[in-house]
Subunit: 468 residues, 2 copies
């Protein structure tokens, strides 16, 4: 074994790869090994729809670095196509199967980092194993789907599930000139968003030729000669040449659970703010791990690639013996669907009420720039506040891609993080010039409106009034 410390990482996508790189710098003498059952690691999982849709036709551009670069540049050993079958937290070993061979071996660790991520939810539907039925989580998934599209030239696709991946794939497959049907069990797209805002996204999908089937349960898939040919959704039979199941994801925590590691919110591996699990010398980070909701303080599970990388850095600091604490997240997300951006940070009215706040929301609808400066677009910003304290709890936004919705969401994300009140928001000193915004940008108007609403002031604070 020698004297150097062995850091063993299970999973090498966002969390695992970031952990290994950061740990190498924190612990120059450690032996670092990554085990991953897939044949790719360290890639941009969020970029997969853009590879399929042809924005980024070369999949190698999604790779942050090649496996051999980990070894040659960072002295990190990478074992691809190696599946970890079990963890023995008492003897501090893992059992690893080489999927290319027949061997299973026992690998010792001093510290184990679980970065197994999340796995697509696939319901026990009849027909889920037919050719032409896909999930889209890993680069391998994407390459399989791309190969099917290239070889079979499908004309029609059914996407099941109107979450982020589902919506991004609507755009991707329409770009390939396919007829696209989107099936969703809920009565709206993007269930985390308020229904009226989500309906703006639904309209955009329809304008771009996507056929929506909302409130429709998928009962089964049909096939002929081993290939999918149709979907039973609600009372409808939809003929199709391919199906994407993008119903949702769940934490890949079975391995940890089997080893007796405690699970938390939504079945994710429970971690403390230093990314430690209930088992000694076992850390977890990324989509397989819990986080804390920064607004409510509650343990939760909010898988995001950006969160995975931040948690991984904290895990490396913990391994190095440094004090670093992951504060939690706000569930911030954004996505582009055709020419619309939509996203959220913090709590909605409903979520805030459920968490015990006296919640109130205000809407601002405005253009992103003065009318006299070309370009930009329109945005609806909904800001949710606590009536008792005036604190900003969250925001949702939907608008034209060219209207820079992401800027307004990020201002609100930072405001939520900073504990700003509606009054603080109303006086925010944001960067103003005509090519960028109005003198009163949407978050500032929202602050004014929310303050008036809370204070019961005469409602003088219309967006129009603020522009005077």
């Amino acid at each position: 074994m020698g004297g150097s410390r062995r850091l063993v990482v299970i999973g090498g996508v966002a969390g695992g790869a970031t952990f290994a790189s950061k740990a190498r710098r924190c612990c120059p003498d450690a032996e670092i090994e990554i085990y991953d059952q897939d044949e790719f690691i360290s890639y941009a999982g969020c970029g997969l729809p853009y590879f399929i849709g042809g924005h980024s036709p070369n999949w190698r551009r999604l790779l942050a670095r090649m496996p051999d670069e980990f070894e040659s540049r960072q002295n990190i050993r990478v074992f691809l196509r190696h599946r970890v079958n079990s963890i023995d937290t008492e003897n501090k070993t893992i059992r690893v199967a080489d999927l290319e061979g027949v061997s299973e071996s026992s690998i010792p660790y001093d510290t184990l980092v679980i970065g197994t991520g999340a796995a697509p939810v696939v319901p026990p539907l009849w027909g889920k194993d037919l050719d032409g039925v896909f999930v889209l989580r890993s680069l391998t998934n994407a390459l399989e789907m791309k190969s099917f599209i290239d070889l079979q030239a499908p004309h029609r696709a059914v996407i099941v599930g109107a979450g982020a991946i589902g919506l991004e794939m609507c755009e991707a497959l329409r770009r390939l000139d396919m007829e696209v049907h989107l099936v969703e069990l809920a009565e709206q797209v993007l269930p985390p968003m308020d229904a009226d805002l989500a309906s703006q996204v639904a309209s955009q999908l329809e304008r771009n030729g996507v056929t929506l089937h909302l409130g429709a349960e998928v009962k089964g898939l049909h096939g002929g000669e081993g290939t999918v040919t149709g979907v039973s959704a609600g009372t409808e039979e939809i003929e199709t040449d391919m199906v994407l199941l993008s119903i949702g994801i769940k934490p890949a925590s079975a391995l940890a659970e089997k080893a007796g590691v405690e699970l938390g919110a939504r079945g994710a591996i429970r971690v403390d703010e230093r990314m430690r699990t209930s088992a000694p010398d076992v850390l977890a980070c990324g989509d397989c791990a819990t986080t804390r909701n920064l607004v409510t303080g509650a343990e939760s599970w909010m898988p995001m690639g950006s969160t995975a990388r931040k948690q991984a850095r904290v895990a490396a600091e913990t391994v190095a013996g440094n004090e670093s604490a992951f504060p939690g997240t706000q569930g911030t997300f954004i996505l582009k669907a055709f020419d619309v951006s939509v996203g959220k940070t913090g709590l909605s009215t409903q979520e805030a009420s459920a968490a015990g706040f006296d919640a109130e929301s205000v809407d601002v609808e405005d253009s992103s720039r003065p009318g006299y400066y070309r370009g930009g677009g329109d945005i609806t910003l909904r800001v949710t506040v606590d009536r008792a304290s005036g604190r900003v709890l969250g925001a949702q936004a939907v608008g034209d891609y060219e209207a820079v919705v992401d800027k307004r969401l990020d201002i609100m994300a930072t405001a939520v993080r900073g504990g700003l009140t509606v009054t603080d928001l109303s006086f925010l000193d944001l960067a103003y010039a005509p090519p960028y915004s109005h003198p009163f940008d949407l978050p500032v108007i929202a602050g004014n409106l929310a303050e008036a609403r809370i204070m019961g002031k005469e409602c003088s604070c219309s967006a129009e009034g603020l522009e005077d």
Copy 2:
């Protein structure tokens, strides 16, 4: 006089017009009158370069509302081309001259609001009164310049002063295919910015055909037949057909000073957080008034159209007897010069050191989006922090217009407002998807770098490392 309260406003551009509109809603029964020596009020002063340059060829689009709309829709009386010659704070009257006639009359007020704005600094140069020499502050200035350009078709222009207006006008006049020389006394453009960042803007100006004359003092203008023909700048003689003097602005506070109203920072009218001056029942707001620097707490003068409107709203609340306090500003600004955006919020290293902070700055240079998603551009973000507390004090940014520099500045402006530390910044939960940003966006990377710098950690936090 009758029973209703008389609110008299001097100046009707950003502050004055916003005050009057908001006051009308707060005080439905008041008599409200605006006096302005110009023939236009309530226009977007920041839009003038875009009118000249032809982005917005119809100047009427710069008008937020027409003077007669104030009267017909809000019962606010507007007196254009009326100059206020004096204020009698004891007897609560102003002396007003009708510039179209010969009359001067005495107008009583219950509350007076001074919104006289700022005036261009015009040094006592020989030749400043020649035809073809302009300042650009009011819509009237802009119409005069536009008329000169239309009628005289000048081929060459000299812009004196490389501040925001000077740079925006470089773009505007180049769009009109004029040969443009930019003369600046300092050794850099945009003196509020750090020199190395400003040099990126200077390069962009040169790439777009602007000839720079930095460190050059203007000694005089030359003319023939009453029209400007040249500028003596440093050791050079520059031939030209027109000149824009955009050296700077100063608060238009002489009227207030003459009336015994106390002045403060930079000669602006001193106001408290409710916009009250030293004289009873006299308020001031906008570019003529002081503000407080939110980071240092010091009284200062930071004229901005967005600030003027916010202060005006506070003034109206004060008049209505409501509690509202203007917290101050951070000096946030942004401008576009050709394809570059540049701006700042809060303090630079030098300003922070001067204010007594143990200041440190870190730079992040990164693309705005993953390489695999088309578009975007490059940004340099410099974040200034206090070593002692870890608090974020300010930020400067320069980058491609398409890189959405304004978003990063607004995140930083909100972070400064929220009192975020470098650690908070490093964990900000921003909106991430490939069409918008990297998983670690520039402010997050800056937080990591600054934390490492302050803590004296091994410098593991390169942008590259963070992308893993």
